[in-house]
Amino acid sequence: MIRFLLRRLALLAITLLITSAVIFALTQLLPGDVARLILGREARPEAIAALREDLGLNNSVPQQYIDWLTGFVTGDWGRSFVSGNPLIRPLVMDRLGNSLRLAGFTLLISVPLSVFLGVISGLNENKFVDNAISIFTLSVVGLPEFVTGLVLINVFALGLGWFPASATAPADASLGDWIRQLILPAITATFVLMAYIVRMTRAGVIDELKKSYVRTATLKGLPRRTVIIKHVLRNALLPTITVVALSFGWLIGGLIVIENVFSYPGLGRLMTNAVERKDIPLMQAVVMVVIFFFAIANLLADVVYALLNPRIRLD
C-alpha cells in the first residue's frame, strides 16, 4: 500500500511536470508581446524594453520556464497582468475555495441521487421505470448548461424567489446562505453529471446481476434486499467511483458556463477572465491547480477502488 502510494505520487509529480511544460509551451505560442499587452498600445518603447527586462522576457525560453516553475513550486506565482497587478496566489486560492465548495456540494447532491436512479434502472432493466429514468437523464444531459441554468433562474429565482439568481455570497455568509447560493448552480451541474453516473451504475448493476454469485446468494435463502444491497451493489458500484472522480476534476475547472450564468466566482470564471485579458501568468496558475486536483481525484479513485476490490493488490 505504501509502495503503491509512493509510486503513484511519483507518477503524479511527473504528470504535473509534463503538463507544466506543455502549458508553458502553449502560452509561448500566443501572439502578441506581453510587455506591450500590459503597458498598452501607446506605451513608449523604452518603457516596454524596461518591462521586458523586468519580467525576464529577454531570457531564453527554457530559462523562463525554469524560473516560472521554481517560482511556482516555492509559492511565488507571480503577479497578474491586470490593473493593479495583484498577487496571483491569494487570488487563485480564494477562487479555488469557492470551486471546492461548489464541487463538494454538487457531488453531495448528484452522487446519491444518480446512484439511486442508476440502481433502480439496473434492477428494472428495460422496464418502464428504467426507460423513464433513461429518457429523463439523457434529455437533461443533452440540454446545454446555459439553458437549464437560465430556466432554473427564471423559475426558482425570478419566479418563485426561493433562491438567489446570482451566486456571489460574501465570505462571511452563514452556512444556510451558502447553501441557498449554491443550490441552483449545483442542480445545473447535477443535470450534466447525472446521465454519466446513472448509466455507469445501471450498467454495473445489470452486469453484476448476471453473475453466478448472485444466484449463490439467492439460493442461500437471503432476502432479495440483502442480495442486492450487500452482494450486488458492493461490486456494481466499483466502476462508478472512477466516473465520480473524473466528475470532480470537471467540477473544479470545467464549470465555465455554469459559473458565468450564475456569476459564481470560481476557477472556471477566473480562467475565462484570464484568457480574455491574455493574463498569461494567471492562466498558467489556474490550469496547474485544476490539473493538480484532477490528478489527485484520480489517485484517490484508484485507492478507493483498490481498497474496495480485494482482487487488486496495491504493490
Binding site: K220, L222, R234, P310, R311
Partner: protein
Amino acid sequence: MTQTTPIIEARALSIEYKFGRGWLNALHDVNLTIYPNEIHGLVGESGSGKSTLALALMRYMAGNARISGGTIVFDGVDITRTTPTEMRAIWGSKIALVPQDALASLNPSYTIGEQIAEIGRLHLSLDARTAWACGIDMLRRVKIADPEAVAARYPHQLSGGMQQRVTIAMALTTKPRLLILDEPTTALDVTTQAVIVDLFRELIRENDAAALYVSHDLGLIAQLCDRVTVLYGGEVMASASIENVFKHPIHPYTISLLASLPRPVNPTHGMETRLPTIEGVAPSLADRPKACVFAPRCPAAIAICHTEKPPLEQINAERTVRCHRWREIADCTLVIDTAPKLIEMSAPPEAGMVLDADHLEKTFGGESMFGRLTKRNGVHAVDDVSVHINRRSTLGLVGESGSGKTTLARLIVGLEATDDGNLHLLNAPLNAAVDARSRDELRQIQMIFQNPNDAMNPFMSVGETLARTLKRLSSQPMTTAQIDARVAELLESVRLPMDYAARYPTELSGGEKQRVAIARAFATTPALIVADEPTSALDVSVQSVILNLLKDLRGQHGTSYLFISHDLKAVAYLADWIAVMYLGEIVEEGTSEHVYTMPSHPYTEALISAIPVPDPTIKSKQIRLHGDPPSARNIPTGCRFHTRCPRKIGAICETDVPPYRDAGGEHFIRCHIPVEELARLQQDSPNPILDAQI
C-alpha cells in the same frame, strides 16, 4: 427398491422459455424421484435441459421461464405453488446448490469466512462469532488445511479445488436434506476431481443427505451415483440403477452414448479402429422433433419413431424408459451394433522425422525489469524438453493444468519464442518466432484450438475463413475459382454440407465449428497439426465424431499430430506415442501401450487412477494426489514430483534429480524407483483405461 417416501419427486414436469412472442418447451413431461441417502445422477449433453431441471428442482428459474405443467413435491409440499418467501426458507436450509464454476459463484468482494458465516446467521440464527466459528468448522470438514487462514482470504486467492471445497462447505452448513450438484468438478483437473468426488461421497453419506449429481461425464456418474436419469432434448430417455444403465442399457441413446466413449483399442496388425458415433447433432430448443426427440439420430429408429412420441414407461419399480423399441432391445431381438469399426490402416507411421524439438526452455517473467527488481523467480514453464514427432504419427501430451503442455505447443507453433533449444521441421532448422518463419514453414505447421467459439472471427463466414487461409498461405496465387473449389473440397473432407460456406460461426453448433477449425488447419495440407484440447469443449456424442475425423484425415494426408489433452482416454485412442508432463518436464514417454500399462511413473499412475471408469463394477484404484501442484515459480528440488508423490521412497527424492530410465522398448520413466521395483509395486492394480469394456 426402497419403499420410503422420496425426498423430492418431479411428476410430468414441463418448463417453457419465452422466445419472442412464443413459448418453447425446455423440459417436457419429466419424472424424477430421489430417495433419502441416494446419489442420483443426471446425465445429458448441452441443450438437454439438465441444468434447467436441476435448478427447477429448487424452483429457481430464469426470468423468461415458467412451469407449464406438473408438480415438484419436496418434503411433502408441492413447491411449484410456494411463495418466494416460503422458497427462501427452503433455499440454503433444506436444499442447497453446489454450483459448476466455484470462482464465479463466490462473491469476489467478501472473504470466504463471511460467505459461509452468512448462512449460519440466516438459517441457524447464530450470532456473528458463532457463525464464523461454524464456518471455520465447515472448512475443516471439507479438509481444508489451516481453515482459520483460509476463512480470512478472498475467493480469487484460492486454487480451483479449494474454491470447490468452499462451495460444498457452504452447501453443507445447514445439513440440507437435498444437495444439487451442478457439474461441480467439470472445470477441475482429473486428479483434483478424484479427490473432490471422494469428499462429496463421504460427506453426502455422513450427512444422511440425498443428492442430485449433474454431469456429462458418464465415468463420474458410474463411480459416484446409485441411480441415474438420462436426459435428451428436454425429455427423460431412461432412468434406472447405475448397474442397469451401464451394464444392461435398453435405450438406444444410452447404448450409443456409452459406445462412443473414447478408449484405447489394440487392433490387429495393419488395422485401425473407429469409434462408434451418434450421427447428427442434438436438436436445438426451437426445432425439437415432435415425435421421439432422439429418432433423427437413432440407429434403431423405425417409421413409428418419426410419427409418434413414445410414452415414458415404468418397467418396474426402479426403471423407466422412453422408447418404442425397448422390449426388443431388452429381450435381445434387436441388437445395436456398438463395436468399434475396424478399417484397414491407410498408411502406418513412417520413420521420417517431421518435428524435432531439442532441449526447449521457456521462462515467463524472469527477465522483465520488474521481475529483476523484485527478485521474483520467473515461471519456468518448459524446462529442457525434447520431443520428436514422426511422419503420420501422433504424439499425445498429457498433464495437469500448469504442467507446461500448452506452452510447449505454443513454442512449437512459434506463438512464444523459446529461450533456448532448437527446433527442426522436416530436418531443416525452424525459426523460433512465428513472424520470422517463411510462408512455407507456416504452411507446414497449423493449429487447432480448444474453444472453437473463440477461434473463429464472428464476422467472417465459413467460406471466407477458409479462403483467407488459402490466400495468405498458398505457395502460388490462387484464382477465385480455385479457392472456391478448394473450400468445397475442405468442407467435404470434414463432412460438412457445401452450403455451410455461407454460414457464420453463430449459425454452427460447437462440433460443426470445430470441424471448420479442422478444415482450416488442413487447408494448407500441413506436415504437423498442433491440436490443443480440440475435443474438451465438445459434448460426449460429438467428441467421438471429431476424434474419428482426426484419425481419417491423418490417414488421408499423412499429417502428424501433436495432440494435447487432459483426457487420457482420448489421448489413448488417437496417439501412438505419449509424453506425460509435470511442472515443465517430461516425466514419462513411450508408445501408448507402454505408458498405459505398468510400470508407470507414479504421476502417470495417479493420473490413470484418477480417471472415473464408465463401469460401476470396476472400482478404480484409490491413488489420490493431495494438494495442488507446486508453483512453477518455485520448482521443488530433487524430483519435482516428490511433494505429492504417493510412492516417495525417502530423502533421495528431495535432494537428487531422478534418472531417466529406459524401461525397455524406448519407454522412459524419470524416477528413483528402479523399473522392476515399480512393476512389482504396481502389478496388481487394475488399469481403468484398459480394463473398461463396455
